[in-house]
């Protein structure tokens, strides 16, 4: 079973865009059933990491590998990765005017989980439950994908998609930004539901520790300048919250290791 292999293994990943190196050799391993977080300031390379896992075509992979349950996914197109169980909750979800949410959800579930999963009462029940957990009204289904959505609606819609697509690996890029405290709690519950007690995994990308209080990640990686400078348990988030990234950078420069 996939339990043997880590759900995600990023090794020595070097990534550039238009000749500029952004990720300078990162290593992250997420065992099945675990939730990890990457914290870092804007511009540290967090979103690049998320996009590369999903297969964004703009980046050049210069070295290293990304494996899902022991299989490299770097040669796969984004839709193939999605069908293999990778999901990305976007920092800036894109609007598609004219494409109805309900229709889109059904098509996506059908593409990712197969036609049968998108049919009949089971799907409708699944959809109804997920929407009620996320406090999304049914009128939402006839709106157009992300078109005119508020920041909070966009983020909740990302989580709704995650809950319906049931990914093996969920990557959440700044899903907490733009959400109030209730929204964060709701989103955190969604993430926990998809991962806890399963063989799935999640990678949460954020620059605040707030969401982490609700998710309780197993491990936190701090990214600065395209490198993971520190990895540690949940305590690392509170240390960062109290002292800031400059402090951490200095400590790392002095040779401290956070385990």
């Amino acid at each position: 079973m996939s339990g043997e292999k880590p759900i995600l293994a990023i090794s020595n990943l070097h990534v550039g865009i238009e000749g500029t190196e952004i990720l300078k050799g990162i290593d992250i391993t997420i065992p099945s059933g675990e939730i990890h977080a990457i914290m870092g300031r804007n511009g540290s390379g967090k979103t690049t990491a998320a996009n590369v896992i999903m297969g964004h075509p703009s980046y050049d992979i210069e070295d290293g590998d990304v494996q899902l349950s022991g299989e490299s996914i770097l040669d796969l197109e984004p839709w193939e990765r999605s069908r293999s169980g990778v999901f990305l909750s976007f920092q800036y979800p894109q609007a598609v005017p004219g494409l109805q949410v309900g229709n889109f959800l059904r098509k996506s579930v059908s593409s990712v989980r197969g036609d049968d999963a998108a049919k009949g009462a089971a799907f409708r029940e699944d959809l109804k439950n997920a929407m009620s957990k996320l406090n999304i009204p049914s009128s939402f289904l006839s709106r157009y994908v992300n078109d005119g959505f508020s920041g909070g609606e966009k983020k909740r819609f990302e989580i709704l998609q995650m809950m319906l697509l049931k990914p093996r690996l969920a990557v959440l890029d700044e899903t907490d930004s733009g959400l109030d405290i209730d929204g964060i709690r709701t989103v955190a519950e969604g993430i926990n539901e998809v991962v806890r007690g399963t063989e799935n995994g999640a990678l949460i990308i954020t620059h605040y520790s707030r969401i982490l209080e609700h998710v309780q990640p197993d491990r936190i990686h701090v990214m600065i300048g395209g490198k993971i400078v520190a990895s540690g348990g949940p305590g690392l988030a509170s240390l960062l919250e109290e002292n800031g990234y400059d402090w951490l950078e200095e400590r790392v420069a002095e040779g401290d290791v956070f385990e």
Binding site: P78, S82, Q94, P97, S111, V112
Partner: protein
């Protein structure tokens, strides 16, 4: 008939591109002359006034220069001497599909017409080349006095009504192609809806060109009497040939006080058909005319559905979409003239260009000086899918009365990489993602279509998107 597999191979993605062997009972030689016009009229045993009108129209067509606007280059390519102006493929108009010659019946079955007829239509006419080969109307409508006939039968059976309205909305001298149509018209629909009658389910006409170098010149006249309503739907396809065919229709609508006419077109000619059509309606007091006009096929379309708001309180709605792929130019748009006070109009035009195709919006919206308190709203959106494709807008607004309220918005957009990536991350291939974006863009049009048409159109566009992504 030709083997489907062969035909499919020959036509690529265009699913309606097969052709039947030509089994004509009457076929005119190529070319146009006064004699050809006389022969058509004689063949149909028409009254003299119609023959005279045809001849006048023919002379006007000969004298009238080609339009010096639109795609003049492609227009000048039309070889009027290399067109067949009349072709009869069945000696009768069947009232049951059993009466339709087998090849032709098979073609309409492949196009799904008999099936649609059973499910959701009030009446159907099917035109093949120059004439209608099948016609039916639901009995209950006939009992209420609704007339739904092909135009030739309409002229034979209801000469008074035809004579009163024919050419009153679009005189033959309107433009070169309305002159051509008036000279050689054949087929099309004649509809009269009596006072107060609402035809709930749409009636449909389907136009099929089969022969090479064919000219199809159907003529449609719809009169909705006071307080009545009707929804007319037309579809059209043709085989794919290396030589061109010419389709030049004239459609006249008359909405009497309080009437409502909706005219829906999904045009999917093969890419060797010139589609040069004049469509116009006159709206009397408190009536409403809606053109829902989709242009997917053809080599060159020049078509600007028009409404003359003649009666106070009348309303015009023109929703059009155009898809221009490789080698296609869709020059489409709308025309609205506000002649009376308190009249309103909405124009929504959306075009997609891809693989070097060209989409143009050409619009004319006019408010006359004596028309008080008119409202006019125009929105044109263009979506360009790749570098070599093109979109232009040629909007004209003439507002002669200061009380008018006019709005005009235009936008041109491109499909973004981020938008595609977003959809692909949800398990959709690039072609599927593009199909979703494109169908979403057309949604304001598609949602106005009968469901069956909407589903077909979405499939058609998804197929178009698959064509070019390698």
């Amino acid at each position: 008939m030709s083997q489907p597999s062969e035909a499919r191979e020959a036509v690529g993605d265009y699913k309606a591109g097969w052709h039947d062997p030509e089994n004509s009972t009457i076929r005119f030689d190529f070319g146009l002359s006064e004699q050809v016009v006389r022969d058509i009229s004689e063949l149909k045993s028409e009254p003299e006034w119609m023959t005279e009108m045809r001849l006048k129209a023919y002379r006007h067509f000969v004298d009238r220069p080609m339009p010096n606007w639109g795609n003049t280059e492609i227009l000048e390519d039309i070889d009027f001497d290399n067109v067949c102006y009349f072709l009869r493929s069945s000696d009768q108009t069947g009232e049951s599909w059993e009466d339709v010659p087998e090849d032709i019946r098979n073609t309409f079955e492949r196009l799904g017409i008999p099936e649609a007829e059973q499910k959701w239509l009030s009446g159907v006419t099917a035109q093949y080349e120059s004439e209608t080969v099948y016609h039916s109307i639901r009995e209950d409508l006939e009992k209420q006095g609704v007339i739904f006939l092909d135009m030739d039968s309409g002229l034979r059976e209801y000469e008074d009504i035809v004579k009163r309205y024919f050419g009153t909305v679009i005189p033959f001298s309107d433009n070169k192609f309305s002159a051509l149509n008036t000279a050689v018209w054949s087929g099309g629909s004649f509809i009269y809806v009596p006072k107060g009658v609402s035809v709930e389910m749409p009636v449909q006409a389907y136009f099929r060109i089969n022969a090479k170098n064919m000219g199809q010149f159907e003529r449609t006249l719809i009169i909705a009497d006071e307080g009545s309503s009707i929804h007319y739907v037309e579809g059209c396809t043709a085989p794919t040939y290396s030589t061109d065919s010419l389709h030049s229709a004239v459609v006249e609508l008359i909405a009497l006080p309080g009437a409502h006419i909706r005219y829906t077109t999904v045009q999917n000619w093969s890419n060797n058909v010139y589609n040069l059509v004049t469509k116009r309606g006159v709206a009397h007091e408190d009536s409403k005319i809606e053109w829902v006009d989709g242009n997917i096929g053809s080599k060159l379309t020049m078509k600007y559905p028009a409404v003359i708001l003649k009666g106070e309180g009348s309303h015009a709605e023109v929703i059009s979409v155009a898809y221009a792929g490789a080698g296609q130019h869709q020059d489409a748009g709308a025309k609205v003239h506000h002649l009376a006070s308190n009249t309103t109009s909405n124009i929504l035009s959306k075009s997609i260009s891809k693989d070097g195709g060209r989409g143009s919006y050409r619009g004319m919206a006019k408010i006359m000086p004596k028309a008080e308190n008119c409202r006019m709203n125009i929105v044109c959106d263009a979506l360009i899918l790749d570098e070599g494709s093109r979109s232009d807008t040629y909007p004209t607004m003439e507002v002669g009365n200061a009380s008018a309220h006019c709005e005009h918005e235009a936008s041109v957009s491109k499909v973004g990489d981020e938008q595609l990536f977003y959809l692909m991350s949800r398990g959709h291939t690039e072609a599927e993602a593009l199909g979703m974006i494109v169908n979403g863009f057309f949604e304001p049009f598609t949602k106005e279509l009968p469901m069956e048409y909407a589903v077909e159109l979405n499939k058609l566009m998804a197929l178009e998107m698959e064509g070019s992504i390698g």
